[in-house]
Symmetry: C2
Subunit: 286 residues, 2 copies
């Protein structure tokens, strides 16, 4: 039975989705959150739709015993490659992703002028999928959309480099300057890792360019869905809990999670990939 104390599930390939957790905890502080980081199989951004969809299916099957009130696929690659299939496979669960809210916000931020130029950066798989083009076009059929893969950026964030590191600056300049030269007016950060460098990105693209944080927009979308479904009981309750699950229990998670969340974390629960693959073999519970 879903109750007001039922958790929101936030799942990601690794650490990036923690930027979505941070945004949800600001927007909806009393909600309980289960975060799943698939750290044994991270990253998803260079992998195929079939592989990524099977990983997401396993994680949702595993966590469905917690009877979540909502599931957020807080990874742009996983959303782009699997959301539609996963929503069809789990019709009784409320499931949203991170692409549509970012695309909608980009369309809105692009103002009233004709044919706005909207840039999107993301992993190789997110860009190749065309998911952002499809969503943006729904809101702004006249938009010119420039999608650019930035495959190294998530690895740079996960290495823990600060935004004054010459390599971070060079990588962002290499990736972003061609978009600026082509007249981009709005830039979507189409990977939940990227908001870590948001300040630097804004300096490089200049203040005329609106930078859209898909993690932030995703959290606002979750709030909207929960309100519409009557699943928020009021915000006078104590702060919700955050419980993390990982598939690889390495010291990296705790060290880097602090950087994403700005808080200390309890030790995560380790879930063996063997256990997840065994779920693939059995019939779905829904």
């Amino acid at each position: 039975m879903i109750s007001s104390g039922s958790p929101i599930v936030v799942l990601d390939s690794g650490l990036g989705g923690l930027t979505v957790v941070r945004a949800i905890r600001i927007t909806l502080p009393s909600q309980n959150i289960l975060y799943f980081g698939d750290t044994a199989r991270v990253p998803y951004g260079s992998k195929s739709a079939a592989t990524v969809t099977s990983f997401v299916r396993q994680i949702i099957t595993y966590l469905s015993t917690y009877e979540p009130k909502h599931v957020v696929i807080a990874c742009n690659t996983a959303t782009a490659l699997s959301l539609k299939t996963i929503q069809e496979e789990f019709p009784h669960l409320s499931i949203s992703g991170v692409v549509e809210p970012g695309a909608k916000a980009a369309a809105e931020a692009s103002g009233a002028g004709a044919a706005p130029v909207i840039g999107v950066i993301g992993t190789e798989a997110t860009i190749r999928s065309g998911a952002y083009e499809r969503e943006i076009i729904k809101y702004r059929p006249d938009a010119r959309i420039l999608c650019h893969p930035t495959p190294l950026l998530a690895s740079i964030v996960e290495e823990g480099r600060e935004d004054n590191d010459p390599l971070v600056i060079l990588a962002l300049e290499q990736y972003l300057k061609p978009l600026v030269q082509r007249g981009v007016q709005t830039l979507v950060l189409g990977c939940t890792h990227y908001p870590v460098y948001r300040g630097l990105i804004e300096r490089i693209v200049g203040e005329e360019v609106a930078v859209i944080d898909s993690a932030d927009k995703c959290a606002q979308d979750v709030r909207r869905i929960l309100l519409a479904d009557g699943k928020i009981a009021g915000d006078d309750k104590p702060k919700g809990f955050l419980k993390c699950f990982v598939t690889d229990d390495s010291p990296r998670f705790a060290r880097l999670a602090r950087r994403f969340l700005d808080m200390e974390l309890d030790a995560p629960v380790w879930v063996s990939p063997d256990e997840l693959h065994a779920l693939s073999a059995s019939p779905l519970a829904n």
Copy 2:
């Protein structure tokens, strides 16, 4: 039954082990090779020993039906974290790795002077494991060993960047200059991706520093083992075949494999991670 036509298995987290395949095909052209790239779960370099060992165990169990004459763990991380355990678990298979040959070559290249300074670069997991220190010390107990993780380098190679790219040069300078300043005389490329940039690395560290390619030394080690075991029948035979297996069937593999191998490849066989995990659940076949 193992025969002279039985294949050599070369396994890796993804693409890097193809530098070992290239070296084996030069050293032992008539040998048949099965290459396994675990592209659905790549990279291993940021993951724990338990996770990486379980992946290697699955792959060897899967390929053992081909009755390989030898198995090479052609990934420094997998060798560092799992070789000893895996050798104990599969006592009937001949299994070698990529760390020991590189360590031995580094010790030999360091000359007769007292207390040579040997540098090692590799993934976070390879460096943290201490595997290179342990192996080098066996041959040169007086060596001063400087180990330095270079976590971004494999991702940079996999992005397909050329060695005249300013970002490649900056990353290598950032990683290598501290080693040069500390007087390194020998440098081990402790990841099978890194030989792709060997020329640039040699320019940055200077010609006084001997650069050791662990992929190349690994191939020579395989030849030594096969000769000692009487498993090479003579080199007047036709060129051996190369058959590839991958866990994620993305267009990346074919595109990047060309860069590693300097040759065209047949389409790889796709092996589902679900199938591999199912092998973990059943008793081992050896």
